[in-house]
Symmetry: C2
Subunit: 672 residues, 2 copies
């Protein structure tokens, strides 16, 4: 279909013109910025020009058209390739002035493409491998949406440009393995196979047969000349029909056209300089001044940018025929259904009545069982720890190749690939992804979690076995630094609920957080319920709140999270026996607490000395306990033993907390 879409306007400019327009905008912008990466846009311009001019389904006037093809620049350092195309095809955000302001403060053209910052940028890329792995999520979301809404409304491809760096990163294996397993037939990876990386020839560090590798994961593969438009077009056309994800290795020359730089690592990451630019203008027969695009070429590109308009209109008609809410659902802007709210309220009432003594991972299982049927946008999964993370809701059917009506994904032992795929599912729109692993393995997914935070997208990580409380598996599996490490990531919500109701409230916050990812840190071990308020005020949303306030003012405030709230409560009872008045504060989410009004925060923290309790390293607890307080937690790695033994041996106990409280009070004086 799309080959025929090639318009008359396109034909007025040659394919070489289209590509050279990309090349020289990249060359000129990098030169003006005195910074950037010309090599990749110059090398992949021919491939990109064929893809956009002849295949990509898009409409530059509506960057968010839900049924557009997605284009992911996994090799994000080649950002000028994308910006050049966005400008040429007429995306409103990317004017010529923005191109000239490449890599400058406040421009729409930052060094690497940034999602949410520039229309037409599907995701933030730069950290290598992320684009490819996220594209698997995009492509999977397309199939999930297709299974729900049908071919007439959901039928688009995901195209990726990836370089050697993307393919050498380990995450790429998790991604291609998952994509091959699920037979994501509408995923096409264009590999910039230029045989050069930053250190020099790729032969310095790799001897992989990439085609054989992808084939081993069930992909359709081929190698082409990346400077031959016909070969490129034939490859894309044919690979769209294989029923499998496709790798097209495009043999290209990095820095194509700059005679003394091309084919070497020198073309990668530095401006070409005046002499090489002049030479490239000669070689490529592009006599135009910097940033100047001849009218015929610009018109041709603009026609490409408008080409999808009619198709988009036809799609909108089909949508309207199927119901008013469909387009919104496809965009992922579905309002949370009323049934969800009802399910939450019912579960809350039950938790309040039953006060269950269960692990927060078990409470989370009950939350999922309750909300999954009411929230069809929810797509669950686990990195092969389903029975431990308790992430599989009763109502969920597994997703498999050819069974995309399911809503639970067996991600395999691929934490990083899972996190990236979840990013893609969220970015695609229409779904709320969540996925489980052990909290200790947050380290494996960290680059993708960071990217979700940077992009500001709703992705929910369910991370169980959140402390030494996991017991016998020992220090490799016991997170001690992970709260601090995750809290350090800006724009990420880290929840550590302390009982069943807090777990439910944390889930509510995570579902409500439309512009940031969340991590739910859940216990392996049982946590006694202390909340029984059925009124429905979400206290976790306050970040921290007073659980018990002593009569007659505070002598000390005990602040704890998760499983340690119970310890704080027990300590307060020990202290009460000595007439020491201890308030207990639960602090399930530091980030949300920091966003509360100063007055509320002061009322929670109080003026008495403060003791912090968390079975983890101190991290930023000084912020809460202050100069006169103390922190009770871990000072190093954990150990292998039953959980109760570990708490005792590491001295995270009610009596240790009470001792610390007495010390703090002695130092500061009671009542202060």
């Amino acid at each position: 279909m799309s080959v025929q879409l090639q318009s008359k306007a396109t034909q007025a400019a040659s394919q070489a013109d289209l590509a050279n327009a990309i090349r020289f905008l990249a060359i000129d912008a990098v030169e003006k910025a005195a910074s950037g990466h010309p090599g990749m846009p110059m090398g992949m311009a021919d491939v990109a020009a064929v893809l956009f001019s002849r295949f990509l389904k898009f409409d530059a006037s509506d960057p968010n058209w839900p049924d557009r093809d997605r284009f992911i620049l996994s090799a994000g350092h080649g950002s000028m390739l994308l910006y050049a195309i966005l400008h040429l095809t007429g995306y409103a955000d990317v004017t010529l002035d923005e191109i000239k302001a490449f890599r400058q403060w406040g421009s729409k053209t930052p060094g690497h493409p940034e999602y949410g910052h520039t229309s037409g940028v599907e995701m933030t890329t730069g950290p290598l491998g992320q684009g490819l792995a996220t594209a698997v999520g995009f492509s999977l979301a397309e199939r999930l949406a297709n299974a729900r809404h049908g071919d007439a409304l959901v039928d688009h491809y995901t195209y990726v440009i990836a370089g050697d760096g993307c393919l050498m990163e380990g995450i790429s294996q998790e991604a291609i393995s998952l994509a091959g397993h699920l037979k994501l037939s509408k995923l096409i990876v264009l590999f910039d196979d230029n045989q050069i990386s930053i250190d020099g020839a790729t032969s310095l560090s790799t001897s992989d047969d990439q085609l054989a590798r992808f084939r081993a994961s069930g992909w359709s593969v081929r190698r082409i000349d990346g400077h031959n438009p016909d070969e490129i077009a034939t490859a894309i056309e044919e690979e769209r029909q294989t029923g499998r994800p496709s790798l097209i290795a495009c043999r290209t020359i990095i820095g194509y056209g700059a005679p003394e730089r091309q084919g070497t690592e020198k073309a990668h990451g530095a401006p070409l300089g005046a002499a090489q630019i002049a030479a490239a203008r000669e070689v490529l027969k592009w006599p135009h001044a910097p940033f100047e695009i001849p009218n015929a070429v610009l018109s041709a590109w603009r026609a490409i940018g408008a080409r999808g308009h009619a198709e988009r209109m036809a799609w909108a008609d089909r949508c309207r025929q199927q119901g008013a809410n469909v387009p919104k659902a496809l965009e992922g802007e579905t309002e949370i259904p009323a049934t969800y709210r009802k399910a939450v309220d019912a579960l809350r009432s039950r938790f309040a009545a039953e006060r269950p003594n269960i692990a927060s991972r078990q409470a989370s299982q009950q939350v999922l069982d309750a909300i999954a049927p009411a929230l069809p946008a929810l797509i669950g999964g686990s990195a092969d720890l389903t029975h431990s993370n308790l992430t599989h809701a009763k109502s969920q059917k597994s997703v498999a190749a050819g069974a995309f009506d399911g809503s639970y994904i067996h991600y395999g032992i691929r934490e990083h690939g899972m996190a990236a795929a979840m990013n893609g599912i969220a970015l695609h729109g229409g779904f709320i992804p969540y996925g489980g692993t052990f909290l200790s393995f947050a380290d494996y997914s960290r680059p993708a979690i960071r990217l979700a935070a940077l992009m500001g997208i709703r992705v929910i990580h369910v991370m169980t076995h959140d402390s030494i409380g996991l017991g016998e598996d020992g220090p490799t599996h016991q997170p001690v630094e992970h709260f601090a490490a995750l809290r350090a990531i800006p724009n990420l919500l880290v929840f550590r609920p302390a009982d069943a109701i807090e777990t439910l409230e944390s889930w509510q916050c995570a579902v409500d957080a439309q512009t940031r990812p969340s991590v739910l840190c859940l216990s392996r071990q049982a946590l006694p319920a202390f909340r029984d308020d059925a009124d429905g005020q979400n206290k976790v949303a306050l970040g921290a709140y007073v659980v018990t306030e002593p009569q007659g003012g505070r002598d000390v405030t005990l602040i704890a999270t998760g499983s340690e709230v119970t310890i704080a409560l027990e300590a307060s009872r020990l202290l009460a026996a000595e007439n020491i008045r201890a308030a207990v504060v639960s602090a399930p989410c530091f980030e949300l607490f920091l966003e509360q009004p100063e007055k509320y925060r002061a009322s929670v923290l109080g003026t008495a000395p403060r003791i912090g309790i968390e079975a983890a390293i101190q991290g930023d607890w000084s912020r809460w306990v202050g100069d006169t307080g103390e922190f009770i937690g871990m000072t190093g790695f954990g150990a292998s033993a039953p959980a109760s033994v570990l708490y005792r041996e590491f001295n995270i106990t009610p009596s240790a907390v009470a001792d610390a409280a007495r010390r703090a009070i002695a130092g500061k004086g009671r009542g202060h």
Copy 2:
């Protein structure tokens, strides 16, 4: 050679007996602990029995014999397989009582094998994929040592048992790609190809052809019946001779012998229970009581454990012939040569005299140029950022397949694989590995960095471009949370030097730190020298120290790290103009500062209000600035623009610091 090593004692017990001894120790220990993973030891017992009885070169009486074969249990949850073998072969650490104390506090048999805790455990495993990737480092170190000391002294294999989890983790791809490229012919991976993972059949989440995948990276591959001792032996024997790394996919049955658990995920991670254990005793014809090993079987195993003794003695003889220091060098206990100290002193004098205004990554380059020739144990490398990290010393030749006399490794775009390989090189002994990437990509290598810290080994990470000071590449490449996240890892030294001399001193600390890994966080941008003391006292080793102390007492103390020390110094001059007396403290290493005596710390921190300055999120800075201080840094992600613009826009400037100082003084009162 080693097939002939099969002793008479071995033959008195059948191969099945040897394997069943492993199986039942694992079954009984897990049952007693009421926790653990019987499935893998039961499935791989036949393979392990053949490997240890007929091939592995080791001597249980000397677990640290440098020329021993290394055995890496990458599937670390199967720890009882290893503990059973260590006990059976007579390693002193693992008595029957320790087996009975499996997973208990203080035992030698924790849930996952822990390096440094139990003799015979070559590395800590549990986080999947790490063992396989670290084994690449072991195997590479063997080749490096071989190139330096010859076949007579260095000639050993690295064997790995890896499961589906290890092979699904992305790090495995980085590892196998690097191993294949370097043709690490003495690396043999025994894949526990049991087609089961925790969620169920591996077909739930993967369709990879693992043999084809490894073949694509240049490995020799084959599939065998993992319960057929002859097939196992033939495979190992033949694969030792291929000149390439080898994958032997051992088709096994998880939980082999437990009739109602075997071949299912139920066998993986829970005790079998009395009924299944009784049934397994019947099926496997092992009528012995729990923990009871018949004498003939134990003798056979003990003979296997002693088999390598003569070979070790002969090796020691050959060592002595080559020089007294050789064994020590092979063990990695080389004393730091005097020439190293001289090189350091000379460079220090030059830095003190020249006061260079250079980036700390450039200073680091000069350090490497100076020390690499004097410290032959140093093995450098970079994850394809050599020209940016400046990690290649002039004297270093690249390592390549067949050129193992080199000392610089082009790790490729494989940060995680690099970090794990460095762990393996350090663990093998004889070398001090360092490797470079951008600090932002510490996230990619984090699981391996954590493992190095947990194991307590000397690995040096050179992480450049350590802040928004990297400029135009933007927020994907700008670390803001990475100091906090790395400082959160116990037993890891995080250095952020502020000028050339501090960079040199940081390198010295990292080289001296024999029992912990280091991260050197280095700037892209130039940092003016402020240190010119040539006396050689290593002030970085103090963690933090006073750079300038005002006359007449302090009104405020400005504490900064790295590139922000310059800002603090400028702020102190602004304040001095108003007669505000500001001390400036450089704090290049929080961890070392925390280890200083209380009195020293108090003298550095002072009693005046404190302002912390670091171009990063606040993290644990509250600890240093206290209730009356203030932190000047980042509150979110960075942006793409020239570095100077970013510092201005994010308000990390001398005047912002001076403002904060004035505020703090106003709140606290001058002179307090």
